[in-house]
Amino acid sequence: MASVFDTLEQKTNGDSGSYSSNVNFLTEPEDGYDFEFVNLKDDKYDCPICLLILRDPVQTPCGHRFCHKCIHRWLSESGEQRCPVDNTTVIRDQVFPDNFAKREILSLQVKCPKSKEGCKVIEVLKQLPKHLEACGYVPIPCPNECSDILLRKDLPHHLSQICTKRKIVCCKCGDQVTAEREQEHLHKECPMVTVVCQYCQLELLRNQIKSHEEFDCQRVIVPCQYQPMGCTTRLERCEMSQHLQESIQQHMNLMFSILMQLTSAVQSIAPGALHHFPAVPQSHSLPVTSSEQSITNLLETLRIGVQQQGMNVLSLNSTPVPYSPDSNASSIGGFPEPVAGSHSHGLIERNISEQTQVAPSLSYSSQQSNKDVEGGAYVSVQQEYELKSLKDQNVTQDESLARHEHQIDEIRGRNENHEKIVKDLNKRLKMLESTINEFEGRTCNGTYVWKIRNYRKYRREAEIGDTTAIHSPPFYSHFYGYKLCIRANLNGVDSARGTHLSIFIHFMQGDYDDILDWPFNGRIILTVIDQNPECELRHHVVETLISKPNLAAFQRPNTPRNHKGFGYMEFLPIGILDNSTYVRNDTLIIKACILPNG
């Protein structure tokens, strides 16, 4: 059963890319046509071999028709050289294409092979492949490659509602995600989704949670800032300030021991550093790296401490002790090898004497600062107390800041949503307005009254040639009738330019043109209304048009508005309009009455 379906199924199984390509079932060498033919009464187009309708019919000299493929298979496979119907001898070369039958068959009408699925189309066989390329009941794979196979007619619904690979806009962050990933996106990725902090249960947007945990959250367990010094305490952030208060002594101890270790380390690594130091003034312009600088500073501090110790030693022994370079070297922290030569000795002695001279002042300043510390003891307790309360305040402010940021983000998101909604509503409003206009035009029942407000403005525009013609909103001759509009050239047109008001009727493409008679046949009454407040004095200007079927203006329009109109170039002299009651309150009123015949 070689049919359209087989071809399609093969394509489904294979590469899905070329799915909609031509179905070559009319040309491929196959068995006959396995379709439901309409109004095919006799069996004259049946192939006696495949029992289907002849495909590429050929005839034998004995006058029997077969599918090209069927007869040639019979002649080659059976090895027989005779007609399968009447056994007369048939040689392959005698079989000839029956193009008459082929043409007849291709012009037979068949039901669409998808009629069982619901396709109602009946098509000439020759046109069937073209139909099948568009037939809504042919199964096709989803172009998004979501692995669904669906009827072509269901594709729009599938793509907009069902396809798991369709793109949708995240309602929170506005990013595009595929439908199948929407939940995953919301649960794991979307930065604008509100999530709960796992530590403090505060609700925050996902994109804030990281910085919240890193800097703000009071419930996150953080290490003590003295961890590098050896403090192993880990506490919730809110308890940390208390820890820092309570553990001042402990932290100082830690720092002290680190300092001591550093001191001995520096001495063991660079014994010469201390020796060199005095010769190098602070302001020396030699380039030093920052680490060298910090070591230098450290050494400076150490040196001062050592000198102080030296002073103490000196003051304990009232008589000056003869200076021994060796012993001094060890106490200072190591001169290099014992130095030979009196010149060097002299240098050292000078150094020492310089040191002893500087020492008293140092000692004084250190005592002075000690005094300061003792005197300020009371002040520092008070300051600490204030500092603590300030820190607490700071913590609460941080918290409220985080909350506010969160709220602002949320409000921003909501605002964006609202803007989208407003845009959408505006669009719908415009649609509704146009629908209402359309309805007004429809329900006027053929008598349309057009009020041209701002007459003077339009007239001026017509005079200077900006807008020479204005058109009324469309209206209908009756509810399902002709769609028309009025054109008014307030300053006339062509030969009537500057002298007359010109009025024309234009036909427009309407929804029901298919059920109407064309060309339009009937009368159209055009009236310029006299708006005199005294009813008796009103003199309307009335003209009646009779349609002329041979004019383009009355043919079915093939553009939204027929370019050709029909009416009066010289409807009313402008001079009369100007000083009359035809224009009142800057408004001109034109009435059109459409009266189709029959």
Binding site: A2, H64, S78
Partner: protein, 199 residues
């Protein structure tokens, strides 16, 4: 390619079911499986022949190369006919062999077989014994064929004398079928039949 065979059989099957011969109960086709490669055919014995009133079943096997090669057909109902083996049911008919044509169908095959029952071809026999009887002793052939039709194909005419002879041979301790074949093959000569059975 098997698909072409199956597809064609499907169409033929519908054709046979719709045909007027089925309406007159002359032929019938039934599917044995849903692959359309095995069917059971039924033909009525033609009137004015020893087979009249009998119903004969056929096994039809469709080769994958159908309709470019003929279907394989044999009788499953036992029958006494020169062109059909009384033992296996194999048929000797040209259209099922070298005279097959692709334009033939199940319907034409069954009708040809019916025609074969009405007009035997003793000069091109399948069963030589039957053919010899057909030519030499036509009366005995007709009685035998009618008897077989009665026994195996539900034919209406009993041949009481033949049945008696079978009963007698069965009395000697022989199986009924073997007794029938032996007697039929020896023109119902009791002596030669028993001799044959004993040898």
């Amino acid at each position: 390619m098997a698909n072409i065979a199956a597809a064609r059989i499907q169409r033929e099957f519908k054709e046979v079911v719709k045909s007027e011969e089925v309406e007159r109960c002359k032929i019938k086709v039934a599917l044995k499986n849903d692959m359309y490669n095995e069917l059971e055919g039924t033909i009525a014995g033609p009137p004015d022949t020893p087979y009249a009133g009998g119903t004969f079943k056929l096994e039809i096997k469709i080769p994958e190369t159908y309709p470019f090669n003929p279907p394989k057909v044999k009788f499953t109902t036992r029958i006494w006919h020169p062109n059909i083996s009384s033992v296996t049911g194999a048929i000797c008919l040209d259209i099922l062999k070298d005279q097959w044509a692709a334009a033939m169908t199940l319907r034409t095959v069954l009708l040809s077989l019916q025609a074969l029952l009405a007009a035997a071809e003793p000069d091109d026999p399948q069963d030589a014994v039957v053919a010899k009887q057909y030519k030499d002793c036509p009366e005995i052939f007709i009685k035998t064929a009618r008897h077989w039709t009665n026994i195996y194909a539900g034919g209406p005419h009993r041949e009481l004398d033949l049945e008696n002879k079978i009963t007698q041979v069965m009395g000697m301790g022989f199986d009924e079928g073997k007794a029938r074949v032996a007697l039929s093959s020896h023109n119902w000569d009791m002596e030669r039949a028993t001799e044959n059975l004993l040898s």
